[in-house]
Amino acid sequence: MPASKSIQIILARQLASCVAAPILLVDAEGALVYYNEPAEAIFNQRFDETGEMAAGEWTARFAAMDDDRNPIPAEERPMMRAITKGHPVSQTIWLRRSDGDWRHLHVTAFPLIGERDTLLGAMSIFWEI
């Protein structure tokens, strides 16, 4: 059968595309699969321009620092911790946009868990502080 996204990820994208809160979606491997228009405004980058990105690619493109301005390793970012720990994570971070500008964000990431406790990915909702 041809590969396809799971219905939970498809519905999460549809939800994200209809709400005003910035939302970012990753799959179970941490690859970025979608971010919505409000998130595009924060990233200063349209999703159509980037498309889906592997975990290493998007975490490098949108670098993050903690409140003390220390770099946050990719595996310690809220989205990745939500996947590896399997529970919601909330944190304030500094995020570097595509134009090099830094934005102070509050991020809440939570895992998307499907039938038989299958990890499907994670969703993060964030807003500027």
Partner: protein
């Protein structure tokens, strides 16, 4: 494979002279393989007549449930092979996040809703929770995936050894949440992988365009959405199915004619009529 429609109606059985041509029984489709494998897709009221056609030589039947709404399981207790101790029956269907398939089915197959309990059936019965992946059943490879419809609901893609593919999506709303449908590629569309390049797609067609607007989120498609989904999926032949119980034969003739004339699909469309058989 041979595919026979035993029940084409959605939501509620709708017998009567005004529905005699398309049929009044709820969802049930029989699939027979060249080597004798028997699959039953859903157990709506149409399953009773299907059961009567299975001869004494049939020893195994696999019933594939897409979900457990009443119109898809109501006929199960009237499926004659369930009462034959020499028959092995496997029932496949989705669990919920908290209840097993057995627990969910028992809610119907037990008093007071039904006099016979699942455990009292004389056949050799096995329940399988669909893995949302691939499984081999007899001569068929059956793939399943969750699709857009309220509650745990799967669609099935059934392929034989020759690569012939039947896809069954009787309750499906792939357009839910889309500002324009289809606007995303197949990989981002509910049911897209199940239906891709199918030889025969049996698909939900419950509403006309006006009805759909009053039923967004109910888990069903408009005729136009169904046709557009068929185009996106690059199917060869599409069977509109799960007809609204309020639609008479004349209504269905008119609505299908209008929708097909408007969409101009580049593939064959045969409105689902009870009793129709397709050789693939």
């Amino acid at each position: 494979m041979q595919v026979t429609l035993w029940g084409t109606r959605g939501s509620l059985a709708a017998p009567g002279p005004e529905t005699a041509r398309y049929g009044g029984n709820t969802s049930c489709v029989g699939v027979r393989g060249r080597e004798g494998t028997v699959l039953v897709l859903d157990a709506g009221t149409g399953i009773r007549r299907l059961g009567a056609t299975l001869g004494a030589s049939v020893r195994r039947v696999d019933v594939l449930l897409t979900h457990l709404h009443m119109d898809h399981i109501q006929g199960l207790g009237f499926f004659a092979p369930l009462y034959r101790p020499d028959v092995e029956i496997s029932i496949w269907g989705p669990a919920s996040s908290r209840l097993s398939l057995r627990e969910r089915l028992m809610r119907y197959l037990s008093p007071p809703l039904f006099p016979v309990s699942l455990r009292e059936l004389p056949c050799n019965i096995t329940l399988h929770e669909v893995p949302c992946g691939d499984v081999d059943i007899g001569e068929f490879r059956v793939s399943s995936a969750l699709v857009c419809h309220p509650g745990p609901t799967v669609g099935y893609r059934i392929a034989d050894a020759c690569g012939t593919v039947l896809t069954y999506l009787p309750d499906h709303e792939p357009a839910l949440g889309a500002s324009a449908f289809p606007s995303l590629p197949r990989a981002w569309t509910s049911g897209g992988s199940l239906a891709a390049e199918s030889d025969l797609l049996i698909h939900d067609s419950q509403y006309d365009a006006h009805q759909y607007l009053r039923h967004v989120g109910w888990g069903h498609s408009s005729l136009r959405h169904m046709l557009d989904f068929g185009t996106l999926s690059e199917v060869k032949h599409l069977i509109p199915f799960h007809h609204d119980p309020g639609h008479t034969d004349d209504d269905l003739d008119r609505l299908m004619g209008e929708a097909i004339a408007d969409a101009k699909p580049g593939y064959r469309v045969t409105p689902g009529q009870e009793g129709a058989t397709f050789e693939l």
